[in-house]
Amino acid sequence: MRAFRFEALRLPPEAAAMRAKVREFLRTERARGGYASHRTSWSTFDPEFSRRAGAAGFIGLTWSPDYGGHGRSNLERFVVNEEMLAAGAPAGAHWIADRQSGPQIAKHGSERAKRLILPRIAAGECYFGIGMSEPDSGSDLAAVRTRADKVEGGWVINGAKIWTSNAHRVHYIIALVRTSPPSADRHAGLSQLIVDMGSPGIEVRPILNLAGAHEFNEVFFKDCFVPDDMLLGEPGAGWNSVTGELAYERSGPDRFMSDIRVLVELIDHVGGEPDERQAVEIGRLVAHFATLRRMSTSIAGLLERGESPVTEAALVKDVGTAFERELPEVARRLVPVEPSPDDQGNLFSEAMAHVTLQAPSFTIRGGTPEILRGMIARGLGLR
């Protein structure tokens, strides 16, 4: 086996400058009461925050200025992301558009799509959802049944998507649809379409999550028309761009920093003189966190160089998810707490309540452990 390499990434000076800039922005945001870190995260949907982040130039960093971007490196983008996560910023409105949809459009979109959409994403005004899963497919994306039929000037979609985050409040979703009938190659005949959520023929039904919050949706399409220039890439090539997209999103710091505020609140709750148990266990969590960040930065460097470390990215997600899952479980062993959503003023208790109810979702998004481990096993030559 070729050993994994997580070479040091020395962030360039412009990344340090960007870090200072985003920190100043976030400091101002917190000072103005824009958000409370222990209660928010990158999945908190806050259009006001996103608009200010866009205005300050923190969205669409890597895209060409021709499309409203800022022509910056992936490493500067990485720094902005990790600072947002570390600060618990409520970046949920623009996160998917910035991380995933925008880059896909920049790479595979038509000129009109790029001109129409990218500048608005970068301004923090235009949000995206993901339309991959279906009621009968789940992890098995190749089982997609929603279909788009070719018509004059575009495509007509019929079918349904499920688990689409924020479908009720985003402007677009990118839907994975079948554009030719199933064949022996299960992965052939799939395409990605940018669907304007204001189009006729779309119905959105909420799915409340276990905490009672409305994040997910079912999306039903009935003869929903999408113009030709909203197709991403070539018809039938959707599988490759979807799997590429997943690889890309897997190694980001959002894969192990979702609940990092629990660690921050834990440290403050424990105070400056931890007992041996608290010191050892907090030290262990910090060692895990520091190492994950190291892995993630290395991969950012590889991506910047144009490499595509698929197995390493899946490893970051798998190891990162385990860390996210374990963090609140360790925390509750170090400090007695009966988490309550109503425990105003006890930041640790509130953070624990929030995270305990969110934790089941950590293993779902971006590929279940089963899928990820299967990918890793393939990378190891086991399948």
């Binding site: 999550n209 276990l210 009672g212 997910f216 479980e329 007695p336 109810l357 089941p360 279940t368 452990p369």
Partner: protein, 364 residues
């Protein structure tokens, strides 16, 4: 339990009836309403009609006179159905009050204090009544219960049980992760007539912690069984990549591990039945609560993983069980609280005494 065959039969019938009652009244709508803070009148009326709150009160004191084992299984079943009422607390409160010589009361009865940090005191008598001082946090259904059974120290340091009517103490509303009420009750200045004050049974050793831990252990065993049932059902029904996910080795292994946790929690809960009333009860409760609490967290995690996105919805009832597990494992002392007590005891006794502690000889 070593019980006569006939009693075993009777108990099976009684549990079966209770099961049907729970099934009938604990509908998804009822659970959702309770989640929004609405007291389930119909359920509680049926529970009271069936005499369940008096399960452990002796027949001669007007109760049902169940054995400890049957009462434990009853509580487990109520938790299997995620009954959104303080039935476990009421059964225990009525039993303790009856044991102290009091007459059982109707309606839900809660308990205070429920954690090791709260201490309540009873001022000396004046005018045939005494006043309480101190606050109790996280009291189950503190504001809604008809009565609270309060353990307080009197001026001589003796532990007394006081039966205080609902509403007597000022309450501040709080919920646990399952949205079960866990209110703060401020008892300062609450007057209690002498008739409502009785010496606490010696076996409490001045604390409700071990008794409360035992309740939560039985409840966790019940709710864990429900979680596993949901997961087995889902795994056999849900098709991915052309076959039920139950056929995937990874899912089978996860569920086998979950079954191990259920087995351990059940064994821990069962051990409390025989320890009831013995000097080893507090130690057994420490073992059982900490072992079952650890298992509860693992069970919830595995079952959510098996259910994937479906289990993360409000629609699927899994969360009624898992949110209770996440709450109950922390109540009446989380794992670390009890483990520290166990650890200090066995270390004080030295390595060679470990084995007789495990066989139960040391505690007797």
């Amino acid at each position: 339990m070593s019980m006569p065959h006939a009693a075993h039969e009777m108990s099976a019938i009684m549990l079966d009836q209770a099961d049907r009652l729970f099934q009938q009244f604990i509908t998804k709508d009822a659970l959702s309403a309770a989640d929004r803070g609405i007291w389930p009148d119909a359920l509680w009326a049926a529970v009271e009609e069936a005499g369940l709150p008096l399960a452990l009160v002796p027949e001669e004191a007007g109760g049902v006179g169940l054995g400890v084992g049957d009462a434990a299984l009853l509580i487990r079943r109520s938790a299997y159905h995620t009954a959104p009422v303080p039935l476990a607390e009421t059964i225990l409160a009525n039993a303790l009050w009856a044991e102290a010589g009091g007459a059982p009361v109707a309606g839900p009865v809660t308990l205070a204090p429920t954690n090791a940090r709260d201490t309540l005191t009873l001022a000396p008598a004046a005018d045939g009544r005494r006043t309480l001082a101190g606050a109790a946090h996280r009291v189950p259904w503190g504001a809604q219960a008809g009565h609270a059974l309060v353990l307080a120290r009197d001026e001589a340091g003796a532990a007394r049980l006081c039966l205080v009517p609902g509403g007597a103490a000022a309450s501040t509303a709080l919920r646990n992760l399952a949205n079960e009420p866990r209110d703060t009750l401020a008892f300062d200045g609450v007057a209690v007539p002498e008739a409502m004050i009785r010496p606490a049974p010696d076996r409490l050793a001045g604390s409700l912690m071990a008794q409360g831990a035992a309740l939560r252990t039985q409840q966790m065993a019940g709710a864990m069984e429900r979680c596993l049932d949901y997961a087995l059902l889902y795994a056999n029904e849900r098709v991915q990549f052309g076959r039920p996910i139950a056929k995937f080795q990874a899912i089978q292994h996860m569920l086998a591990i979950a079954a191990g946790h259920l087995a351990a929690a059940t064994a821990a809960a069962d051990s409390l039945i025989e320890a009831a009333g013995t000097p080893g009860f507090a130690f057994a409760a420490a073992i059982a609560k900490s072992r079952a609490g650890e298992a509860a967290g693992q069970m919830a995690a595995i079952c959510h993983q098996v259910h994937a996105a479906m289990g993360f919805t409000r629609e699927h009832p899994l969360h009624f069980a898992t949110r209770r597990l996440w709450s109950w494992r922390d109540e009446f002392g989380a794992e670390a609280f009890w483990q520290a007590q166990i650890g200090r005891l066995v270390c004080a006794n030295g390595g060679e005494a470990l084995w007789t502690t495990i066989t139960g000889e040391a505690a007797e």
